[in-house]
């Protein structure tokens, strides 16, 4: 008997990393999943993004938990494709209760040197893509008339400034007001909306050389160990990066009955990072 028996969750960026972890955590608690991921490279992203094989692996792992999952390759910049994916998922699974707007990219660059395309693609995916996700999916929760829960993946970067992340941080901060307005608009329908703000999470979006160089600009070819020395200084608890499961567990609280009166908040899971 799980915390989310009978529920259906729509998760973006579900092919790997945090998104896959959320899919498995929610499935373990009884939820069926509608999963999307771009499953290809975005133009300005310097590290390998998820592949169709990654998404297929998420599907296998959810099904191994004896839950249903409807997965498709969708770019969150494509509102029509998002809408089609959610409509199809709801048609097959019968309802929608939860939306996890989790898809995101990281493209470190100095603020005054970054290309226009780098700024634009970041805003289109990490900010506008989240609104499009919500736009496509939340009407289904409203139609259900049973309430529901939306969690948008923001970041510690929305609260605490780090060099070379202006576009990322602006997008992540923008999500906070999107969340608050939505929380106010949807409260009468018992639909709760919150943001989650992780510190550095140990996923493929972070564990790559472009990110290591962001954290260690003093080194030409920093290793993961070099990166961890710097990453540790962002946190106050003795840890370099948290696990995706740490974020999934916080999301579980927000989307389950334990969090039934929690809405409009910025939920921070940052190992003390914002304490400055």
């Amino acid at each position: 008997m799980g915390l989310l028996d009978g529920k259906v969750a729509f998760i973006t960026g579900a092919a790997r990393g945090q998104g896959r972890s959320h899919a498995l955590t929610l499935a373990r608690e009884g939820a069926d999943i509608i999963a999307v991921d771009i499953c290809r490279q975005a133009a300005t992203v310097p590290y390998p993004m998820a592949t169709p094989e990654d998404l297929a692996s998420t599907v296998k792992q959810v099904e191994a938990l004896d839950r249903r999952i409807i997965a498709s390759e969708v770019d969150v910049r494509d509102l029509a494709a998002l809408t089609a994916a959610v409509d199809d998922g709801v048609a097959q699974l019968g309802r929608l209760d939860i939306v996890l707007a989790n898809a995101g990219i990281s493209t470190p660059a100095p603020t005054l040197e970054m290309d226009e395309q780098v700024w634009d693609e970041m805003i289109e995916i990490n900010l506008t893509g989240q609104w499009k996700t919500i736009r496509a999916a939340v009407p289904h929760i409203i139609n259900g008339g049973r309430g529901g829960s939306v969690v948008i993946t923001s970041s510690l970067a929305a609260i605490y400034a780090n060099a070379n992340t202006a576009h990322y941080s602006a997008a992540k901060a923008g999500l906070v007001m999107l969340m608050k307005v939505l929380a106010k608009e949807l409260a009468p329908q018992s639909i709760r909306v919150n943001t989650i703000h992780p510190t550095t999470v140990a996923t493929d979006m972070i564990l790559n050389e472009p990110t290591y160089r962001l954290f260690r600009p003093d080194l030409e070819h920093p290793t993961r160990a070099d990166f961890e020395v710097a990453a540790r200084t962002l946190n106050k608890l003795p840890v370099a990066a948290v696990e995706p499961a740490d974020i999934s567990n916080a999301i579980l609280y927000l989307v389950s009955d334990a969090g039934r009166y929690v809405t409009g908040i910025t939920h921070v899971v940052d190992a003390g990072g914002q304490l400055g």
Partner: protein
Amino acid sequence: MGMLDGKVALITGGSRGQGRAHAVTSAREGADVIIIGIAGQMATVPYPMATQDDLDETVKLVEAYDRRALAIKADVRSQHQLDQAVARGVAEFGKIDILIANAGIWTQAPFWELTDDQWEEMIGVNLTGVWKSAKAVAPHMIERGSGSIVITSSTNGWEAGLNYAHYVAAKHGVIGLMKNIALELAPHGIRCNSISPGAIKTPMTDHQGAWDMFAGHPAAAPSRT
């Protein structure tokens, strides 16, 4: 198998209301509980405060989950009483993993009409009492290199509240205190957070002064829903 199997939680203001709920929830998840309550009335508080009977009832509710409860009559304004409670708790249970610094009062007056006593009792319990509670457990938690502290703030830790400036100041203050405790104890692997409830239905909010405030006029009737 509960989330708090084998853990020991110390809860101030545990006789009734939120504190009692925290004690029961902790017990349900496997923790043994040390419950601190004032079991007495404070001069500026217009509603009846928790009694020894309330404290005893919380013990019974904890024991119904087959967990152990140690009830201690203590005032969070007294460092000595808190230190003694911690010592008794550690002697009885071997350790303290969790502190829920929850004891609190709520009184009302326009800020320029608050008496010295109203202000001081409020700060004494709702702010200073929280520091004293954390101070009482910190050395033990540091020695163990482990622990989690939760401080009960309020939505009034973020927002103003008409006619209870002292409560608002204290609830804002414990958020700052929480951040410092978190900063100072993080190297020891100990976490500290605050929780900000809105209006929760407990004896602290279920009285005429509260009904009048929520209704926006005097002589309000309590809600029947």
